[in-house]
């Protein structure tokens, strides 16, 4: 229970900070957009038909881009605004950008609900267009605006779940990392419960505020319903409510500011990881690093592109999630110079028995299945070569295809299958090359069941990577030492039972 609360605390704060700040900024930005959409239209208060058309198209474009794509697409913009493309603060930028068109449309709708006659009546009093907006449109639309803001806030809570892509943390990310990827049902449920409580709270607050500003409306039936005393606010105290709300928002911003600043002052060594197993291994050696006086900040990524982009951009100092062939390909494609500095572990690729139960018993013309995606296909062929079954003319080059087989003494028939399908193919083939994650799903134990297994010499060992300028940082050296310590080895061997092997 204690562990659970500790785990939940920080992500909850992160979610609150992300949502509070993005609601506030997108509320202002979207508010301006919504007002412009209404007043600039033909027959509106300040008709500028060209601008109106432009804003409409822009809003529609903004609303059509899926959030996850938007988040990655605007990374350069994010970096120029907040100085980094990763972390909670960086996640706020796409949240704001994504929410503004949405808020704009909702505000537009709320303003259109304002009685047209009310606008005309204030015009006959001699109001300027700005006064019409400030004294008629906005105050008369308050209940509708509050409802819109409630919808936006709740939407942003769910958008923020995707913040994990850029290492933003938050509750959604926690649920994905531990619950979905890590099979920790308890954490997933706890996270969802916290989210439900949060959403309920936001909806209740929104409804209450909206009904308060509704001024009991025309419905006389509602008027006769006695409202509890604490729900009644005399007009005298309306300003108290207003300033109170503003105060809460300011506190939220302040808290976020402190959160960001404190991060900036400490300047820890920032290490990007995939949560499992990389993050868990790093967690284990944190005490060792603390003892050495090295403060490490773990930044979780849920994809394979961002950790390298962030490393190349200097947003993080090192990452641990990839193997060298992947890194090489990335460097080539992205013109980066990321280097590997230490092998840490391997999720071994294994040859699992099908109709044939031992390696030496493979008959002439036996059928062997291997994965069909380019990376794992090459890796599978290398495994077969290392087992002495075939020879490749490309040697140990990882860019290998079926065409590269130079000697196949047993005339093995090698067929490529979708990686996830391989365990199921075992009954129909003599043996199959299977990735550990799929082997585990099929209840195969790499250590016990595989007839041949990759070892730490494999080029597919996961490595700690960094950029050349940081390779000699003593803190990085300490990190390598800790990750290759006997503590780490013991943890890997015990925790993963062969699914992950130490590669040092």
């Amino acid at each position: 229970m204690r562990e659970l609360l500790q785990l939940l605390w920080e992500p909850t704060l992160q979610t609150l900070a992300m949502v509070a700040v993005s609601v506030l900024i997108s509320g202002v930005g979207g508010g301006v957009l919504g007002v412009l959409l209404v007043v600039t239209e033909r027959g509106g208060l300040l008709p500028v038909v060209g601008l109106n058309r432009f804003l409409n198209i822009l809003t529609n474009i903004g609303r059509s881009i899926p959030f996850i794509i938007l988040m990655v697409a605007i990374i350069p913009f994010t970096r120029s605004v907040v100085g980094t493309s990763i972390g909670t603060t960086a996640a706020m930028v796409p949240l704001v950008v994504g929410a503004i068109p949405y808020v704009g449309r909702l505000v537009e709708g709320a303003l259109r609900e304002v009685n047209r006659g009310v606008i005309e009546s204030i015009l006959t009093m001699g109001a300027t267009p700005f006064q019409v907006i400030r004294k008629a449109y906005l105050p008369e639309a308050i209940p509708g605006l509050i409802r819109a803001l409630t919808v936006v806030t709740i939407t942003l809570v769910s958008y923020s779940a995707m913040a994990g892509t850029v290492g933003g943390g938050g509750l959604g990310d926690l649920a994905i990392r531990y619950g979905y990827q890590g099979f920790r049902l308890d954490i997933m449920i706890a996270t969802v419960v916290v989210l439900i409580v949060m959403i309920q709270g936001i909806q209740f607050l929104g409804d209450w505020l909206a009904s308060h500003f509704e001024r009991t409306e025309r419905s006389s039936a509602f008027k006769t319903l006695p409202r509890p005393a604490w729900l009644k606010i005399s007009p005298r105290y309306v300003h108290v409510v207003r300033w109170g709300t503003l105060g809460i928002l300011l506190i939220a911003i302040f808290a976020t500011g402190v959160h960001i600043r404190s991060g900036a002052i400490h300047k820890p060594l920032r290490v990007g990881v995939n949560p499992i197993p990389h993050g868990e291994i790093l967690q284990q050696v944190m005490p060792i690093l603390e003892k050495e006086g090295v403060h490490v900040q773990i930044i979780y990524f849920s994809d394979y592109i961002q950790p390298n982009l962030a490393l190349a951009a200097g947003d993080i100092d090192a990452n641990l999630f990839q193997h060298v062939p992947f890194m090489d390909r990335f460097n080539r494609d992205h013109k980066t110079d990321i280097i590997a500095i230490a092998k840490i572990h391997i999720e071994p690729l294994g040859l699992y028995p099908g109709r044939t139960k031992i390696l030496s018993a493979l008959r002439d013309g036996a059928i062997i299945a291997i994965p069909n995606d380019p990376v794992n296909s090459g890796r599978g062929l290398l495994l077969l070569q290392s087992a002495g079954l075939i020879q490749l003319r490309t040697g140990t080059n990882t860019n290998t295809t079926l065409e590269d087989i130079s000697q196949n003494p047993k005339h093995l028939k090698i067929s490529e299958l979708e990686a996830a399908q391989l365990p199921r193919s075992l009954r129909d083939v003599d043996a199959a090359v299977i990735n550990t994650n799929y082997a585990l799903v099929a209840k195969l134990n790499p250590l016990k069941d595989a007839i041949y297994l990759e070892n730490s010499a494999s080029p597919y060992a996961n490595v700690l990577s960094t950029v050349p300028s940081k390779a000699n940082d003593p803190r990085v050296s300490a990190l390598v030492k800790a990750l290759q310590s006997s503590t780490a080895r013991r943890f890997i061997e015990q925790k993963y039972q062969g699914a992950v092997l130490p590669a040092f």
């Binding site: 005309e120 006959t124 009093m125 001699g126 300027t128 004294k135 105050p139 008369e140 001024r215 007009p235």
Partner: protein, 372 residues
């Protein structure tokens, strides 16, 4: 204190009546709307001069162009041709800042009032002053003054939704008067109100004119409002003013067919033929509409008539009320007798100040049935 509310008090009004320009002067106001490819003329050459301190009614059936007239005068619509002079300045020629400050000389009370639901009564009344950029102290002072004058002190902090229809009307009128306009434009002030509230709202409008000296232009389809408080009335029909004059003149001796129809409809004459049922026309009897105004309405003219002449009287319809603060009686009677006695009877009624009109209930019904 109350005289100060308006720019010009009634006393100085009367003194300079001949010299002062009209509070509202409409000149050849024309407005056309485009419907697909054709243009329809909603107002055509509407001219109207409303002297200061007058309550001028504009009456017409729905679709006559009343709403467009209101929107052109308040400059929510730009007239295609003509002038709209309010207190001497032409709103139709103005734009921007000029128009905004000129609008403070014209208070508008809309049919649906359009009070701000997010503002209390006091805040609603303060709105025009805020827009004009008045100082807070002055606003508070003026709002208190108006709340007191309109008897709304107790409701100052209430929201419009918490008020009765009559109270909302008062707030709307108070708000329209906040900037001390010379002219109050009131659109259907009595529609959707019960008779009692109607009477009190009309009395209030009259007080506004009497005590604050505000000229009122009242646009309505209800004869009761015109009869009760208007000095003059214009009849609008299909975008044209077909008849204009003092209320007594227009209502008692309507010259135009539309005016007669308006009056007839109000009095229910179109149903007379139905009431008379299958009765065949008796050549020996005549149908008269008899109107009494002022002193004669209070005298028992009809009973004297019966006692004096050899005639039979059948009262088909009767109504008493008020016409611009005078007592007003209205009768529809069937008189039976000889040609001579009938002529004498009409002479007797007219000698006693009654306005007598011959009517034919059967043709009245036909007129109603024919397309307007």
């Amino acid at each position: 204190m109350l005289e100060e509310i308006s720019g010009s008090g009634p006393s100085e009004l009367r003194a300079g009546e001949a010299q002062t320009p009209p509070a509202v002067l409409l000149e050849n106001l024309t407005k056309r709307y485009r419907q697909d490819t054709t243009w329809s003329t909603v107002l055509l050459n509407v001219s109207l001069s409303v002297p200061q301190g007058t309550i001028q009614g504009v009456i017409g059936f729905s679709g006559a162009g009343k709403t467009t007239l209101l929107r052109c005068i308040s400059r929510l619509e730009l007239p295609d041709e003509g002038k709209v002079l309010i207190d001497g300045t032409d709103l139709a020629r103005m734009n921007g800042t000029q128009l905004r400050s000129a609008r403070q000389r014209l208070g508008v009370v809309f049919q649906q009032l359009h009070l701000f639901r997010s503002r209390t009564v006091a805040q609603n009344i303060a709105l025009p002053l805020e827009l004009a950029g008045a100082r807070k102290k002055d606003i508070d002072e003026r709002v208190l003054e108006l709340l007191a004058w309109f008897g709304l002190e107790a409701k100052a902090d209430s929201y419009p939704s918490q008020l009765s229809g009559g109270q909302q009307q008062r707030v709307a009128i108070a708000r329209a008067l906040a900037t001390k306009p010379a002219v109050l434009l009131s659109d259907e002030p009595t529609s959707a109100l019960d008779p009692e509230t109607t009477a009190s709202v009309l009395a209030l409008l009259r007080r506004v004119r009497d005590e604050l000296g505000v000229t009122i232009l009242l646009i309505t389809h209800e004869l009761i409002a015109v009869r009760a408080i208007c000095d003059r009335v214009a009849v609008l029909d299909q975008g044209v003013i077909v008849e204009e004059g003092s209320v007594e003149q227009v209502l008692l001796r309507p010259a135009h067919k539309t005016t007669q129809r308006l009056l007839g409809r109000n009095l229910g004459l179109e149903h007379l033929a139905e009431y008379l049922g299958g009765m065949t026309k008796n050549p020996a009897s005549i149908f008269l509409e008899v109107q009494f105004v002022g002193e004669s309405a209070t005298r028992q003219v009809l009973s004297t008539l019966v006692r004096t002449f050899e005639i039979t009287v059948n009262i088909l319809r009767a109504d008493i009320g008020e016409l611009n603060r005078s007592a007003y009686g209205f009768l529809v009677v069937e008189l039976g007798g000889t040609t001579e006695t009938l002529e004498q009877s009409i002479g007797f009624l007219e000698a006693h100040g009654a306005i007598v009109t011959h009517i034919d209930p059967w043709s009245e019904a036909e007129t109603e049935g024919s397309p307007a």
